[in-house]
């Protein structure tokens, strides 16, 4: 009688322990395995990120295995097409009696030995950019110019590790192109004040004022 | 039907007994009521303005309430130290002390629950925790285990003494076959409540200060020192204020329990200190903060060093049998131990767990007046409940309260 009771109690204890130790998430060994297994059956979601582009006009590009959208550039340049002004030779435009357009551009990009205006611009074909080897590149594909030197950044950008994504995370993918973030004439980011300060800092500065 | 009648008369008699007493008793109860009201007032402010009136913050998100909760679970668990020999080993010495111990456990448990409720951000939705009506995240959350074991222990500690007192009240002898299984169960249960409470902290990989295997055993050792120490003090008070006879032998036996537990506790403390400071890692920073301070932040230093020195002094004195048997020395040591462990298992355990924060931020914690008010109020409530329980129990045991059959 007693033994039966003991066994019963033990069985109950065992059941509780067993139930407690069971983990419902034991399907996969790690997050990596889970991603791998579950993405095998992946099919496109029905959502599209196009609604979040707002007014940004995009063009589709294909680089290697990656096909994605980038903002159209020519429409954003204030005085395109360039040849509307650049009808005369540069020397003449630089003379004093002509109206100035973008005379204040200061090239802060690599050193003078490496780059000057003619590295990217062709004085004879102002409407297009030109590569190091003298081939023509459309303003909309300006990234090709950057990619000549910045090959690792270019790789990252194609894959999506570099460059800001526009709209949403769902396909189609749209990313800013180089010149959307970097000024090609002065590509590095400037220092600035953060857009806000953290809580404790503000409290401390108030205390500082009180003293 | 007859039982209900007896029960009614018991309630009436006990109310009668608890509302009448000596002048000192009345002053004591009035004092407790006053403190409780102050506590309620503080709590009402907290209810109105939110927990921002406490010293807690996103950095140190548990404070005085949870500290006291942790400590009191230990006090409640300690009742077992008296239950075990009395009921199971039939040690006659403990028989009078055991009802007091269990009363203490009930009061401590109610205080525990009160502290947990006081710590809640939304006490009005606590029904979410009731199984059946709400959602009870069992067995994943250790907090649900704690709810089960605490309430179960409360039930055991109410029902066993109630059964015994109910029989005695009618002048009958309690049937050991009924209460001994309960007593055995409560012995196991007492270990469980403290171990589960330790697991509450021990299971958090985010907090290395808590996430160590010694936490549970150390909780038990310190509880079995602090709990019986409190019982000795309470017995001393009861002895001097009532006719309830408690032999010196009983007190000496409890003192032995306190001594052994305090010694084990010290050994574990040394082991912990060795691990933290012999080969300090990134995970020892909380201990560094606790014992030496970090970055000039030293709020806990006076507390923990007071606690450690009190603890060591008390343990050394208790170790000598001659000193231990001197009652006034014993009471002094018990007081030292109780306070030392309250600091160590409360403040000294909970607060450093949060310091430094997950990203190394050190924000110190100091309880506010409102928090202290609520805490003292809950302690007063515990004392109030215990006084009522003890007065009734002593009355019945002494035969002053007896069921009178109406003709």
């Amino acid at each position: 009688m007693n033994r039966k009771k003991d066994i019963y109690i033990l069985a109950c204890l065992f059941a509780v322990t067993f139930y407690s130790c069971k983990h419902g998430e034991g399907e996969y060994h790690s997050l990596h395995d889970k991603i791998e297994a579950e993405s095998k059956t992946y099919h496109d979601t029905t959502m599209t990120s196009e609604a979040f582009f707002n007014d940004i006009k995009t063009i589709e590009i294909t680089e290697g295995v990656h096909t994605f959208l980038i903002p159209e550039r020519k429409g954003q340049i204030k005085s395109y097409a360039c040849i509307e002004c650049h009808t005369e030779s540069l020397d003449k435009l630089k003379s004093k009696d002509m109206k100035k357009a973008h005379w204040d551009i200061n090239l802060v990009h690599a050193d003078k030995n490496t780059m000057n205006c003619a590295t990217c611009h062709n004085g004879n074909d102002m409407n297009n950019l030109n590569t190091l080897t003298g081939n023509t590149v459309d303003f909309n594909s300006s990234y090709k110019l950057c990619a000549q030197c910045h090959s690792s950044q270019f790789e990252d950008w194609k894959g999506g590790a570099h460059g800001k994504r526009i709209g949403g995370w769902v396909p189609p993918r749209a990313s800013f192109t180089c010149v959307n973030c970097h000024n090609p004439h002065s590509p590095s980011f400037e220092t600035r004040w953060p857009s806000r300060f953290n809580t404790e800092q503000i409290e401390e500065s108030h205390e500082g004022l009180a003293q | 039907m007859r039982r209900l009648k007896v029960f009614r008369s018991l309630v009436i008699d006990s109310i009668d007994a608890t509302t009448k007493g000596s002048r000192k008793y009345n002053i004591w109860m009035g004092f407790l009521t006053f403190i409780m009201l102050v506590g309620m007032y503080c709590y009402s402010i907290q209810l109105d303005q939110g927990l921002s009136v406490t010293g807690m913050s996103d950095r140190v998100s548990w404070g005085l309430y949870i500290s006291n909760f942790t400590f009191l679970v230990g006090v409640a668990a300690a009742a077992v130290m008296l239950v075990m020999p009395t009921y199971v080993l039939k040690d006659i010495d403990f028989k009078q002390a055991v009802l007091i111990g269990e009363g203490l456990a009930v009061a401590a448990l109610i205080m525990c629950l009160a502290f947990v409720v006081a710590d809640m951000g939304g006490p009005s939705v606590l029904w979410h925790m009731i199984p059946g009506i709400g959602v009870f995240n069992f067995p994943n959350s250790m907090l649900t285990w704690d709810v089960i074991v605490l309430n179960g222990y409360l039930f055991l500690n109410i029902s066993i003494p109630f059964y015994i007192l109910f029989r005695r009240y009618q002048g009958k002898v309690p049937n050991p076959k009924i209460y001994i299984p309960g007593a055995v169960l409560s012995v196991l249960w007492a270990v469980a409540i403290h171990l589960v409470t330790a697991f509450l902290y021990q299971g958090l990989q985010a907090r290395p200060f808590w996430n160590n295997a010694l936490l549970g055993p150390r909780f038990l050792a310190s509880a079995f020192a602090a709990g019986p120490a409190l019982i000795i003090l309470v017995l001393a008070i009861i002895r001097s204020f009532t006719d309830f006879k408690i032999k010196n032998k009983t007190i000496n036996k409890i003192a032995l329990i306190v001594t052994v537990a305090a010694q084990i506790n010290i050994i574990m403390l040394i082991s912990e200190l060795f691990k933290e400071f012999y080969a300090p890692t990134h995970h020892s920073e909380s201990a560094y903060y606790l014992f030496f301070g970090l970055d000039g932040k030293t709020a806990l230093l006076p507390w923990i060093w007071t606690a450690i020195s009190m603890n060591v002094i008390a343990t050394i004195i208790l170790t000598f049998k001659k000193l231990r048997e001197n009652l006034s020395v014993l009471y002094f040591c018990c007081f030292l131990l109780f306070v030392a462990i309250w600091i160590e298992k409360g403040f000294g355990l909970i607060v450093p767990g949060f310091i430094p924060g997950p990203y190394g931020k050190i924000v110190e914690y100091l309880p506010t007046k409102i928090e202290v008010g609520v805490t003292i109020g809950i302690w007063a409530m515990g004392a109030f409940i215990f006084t009522i329980l003890a007065k009734t129990a002593i009355g019945i045991e002494l035969g002053k309260i007896r069921y009178k059959k109406k003709s």
Binding site: G167, G168 | L37, S52, P356
Partner: protein
């Protein structure tokens, strides 16, 4: 007063008491006391009623001696009693025939909201119901409309996030955007995101990092690392919640039902990443600044005493949009996407860059990776 049947179902005998006691709780014995005024608003009535009941008690057991300051004592008990009466008040007002339709509806909504179940266990219909109630309640209270959804997780989606520590410059635009998007409490300056400024060459020493910097950024010789909720795949916070008020959705988001949370803060202690925030007092957002495009699990208004945290902007991400922090980041350091889509940019980052996660040894499996150029 006696025809004014405001307390139908739960008449607490206030009126009777008042008649017998002959004075009301406001302490004045002569006329002019608010509770004898017939044209009372509901709130005033409740207050007066509570006052009255307390007033009687005061006379009985002499709380006057306990608390000298009359107003304090009374307001304290008023609060205590009032909190107990919330439910009762809701019932009685909803049963009332006298009060206006609006307040009746308000009370009805409050009642249903107070006793609704856990969102996690709700059917789609119930989810819709509570969302509609919350929208209606907001309209009744402020006269303005919000749009709230209860959109469920999409199939074949598992959200992941990557953070480029070479790119982040510490501008804090993400923090600003997050606060505005998610209606975070302005008083306590709650922020989900922290940007840690670290010294080059020191490694990841968070304890020496500064998340309170006050100078132009990027500072010379420093790099920046953002932390927020990492939406662990094995979240310790979810395990410890005693009431399952927080859970991991099928698309990997770790979310909280603000209405189900009891405020025990166990999850906060369990989170190794400082991902959770608690509303220590009532969160406040100026009406004009409230983002009215809300999700039940996301940026809807919280209340005092509950947890909240980053949800990867569930109100945006479930529609296909990027979270506010990703959209606001001027450097493109933040990358968000679907881990299950083999062609997604986040997958490319994970497969082609050297990525790592914080405190990986804890086994929490965060879905938030860091990488460098």
């Amino acid at each position: 007063m006696s025809d004014n049947k405001k307390w139908y179902s739960l008449d607490l005998n206030f009126k009777k008491k008042k008649e017998t006691s002959g004075s009301c709780g406001c302490g004045k014995t002569s006329g002019g006391c608010g509770s004898h005024n017939n044209e009372m608003t509901d709130d005033a009535f409740l207050e007066a009623a509570v006052n009255a009941s307390i007033g009687d008690e005061v006379r009985k057991d002499g709380f006057d001696q306990v608390f000298d300051v009359k107003m304090d004592r009374r307001s304290a008990f008023k609060k205590l009693t009032a909190s107990l009466l919330i439910g009762a008040g809701a019932v009685s007002t909803s049963c009332s025939v006298v009060t206006g339709d609006d307040s009746k509806e308000k009370a009805q909504i409050d009642w249903e909201e107070q006793f609704k179940g856990n969102y996690k266990l709700m059917s789609d219909k119930e989810k819709k119901g509570t969302v509609e109630r919350l929208m209606r309640s907001y309209e009744l209270r402020t006269g303005k409309n919000i749009s709230m959804t209860s959109e469920n997780a999409k199939e074949d989606v598992l959200f992941g996030y990557a953070f480029n520590i070479s790119k982040c410059q510490g501008y804090m635009d993400c923090v600003n955007a997050c606060i505005e998007e998610n209606n975070q409490d302005r008083n306590s300056q709650m922020q989900y995101i922290r940007i840690h400024e670290m010294k080059d060459g020191n490694g990841f020493k968070f304890d020496e990092a500064d998340d309170n910097y006050y100078h132009e950024v990027p500072a010379e010789g420093h790099f920046y690392m953002g932390t927020q909720c990492f939406h662990c795949d094995n979240p310790p916070c979810v395990e410890v919640c005693p009431v399952q008020a927080t859970w991991r959705e099928d698309d990997g988001l770790v979310v909280i039902d603000y209405d189900w949370c009891v405020g025990c803060r166990y999850c906060m202690a369990a989170c190794p990443y400082d991902g959770r925030r608690f509303n220590w007092s009532k969160p406040e957002v100026p009406e004009a600044e409230i983002n009215k495009n809300q999700h039940y699990l996301g940026n809807r208004m919280r209340k005092k005493g509950v947890m909240e945290k980053c949800t990867f902007c569930v109100q945006r991400s479930r529609k296909g949009q990027n979270p506010a922090c990703v959209e606001a980041c001027p450097t493109g350091a933040r990358i968000f996407g679907n881990l299950l889509d083999p062609n997604s940019t986040i997958r490319w980052v994970l497969e082609n860059k050297k990525v790592f996660r914080l405190k990986e040894d804890l086994g929490t499996e965060p879905k938030f990776w860091y990488f460098m150029d």
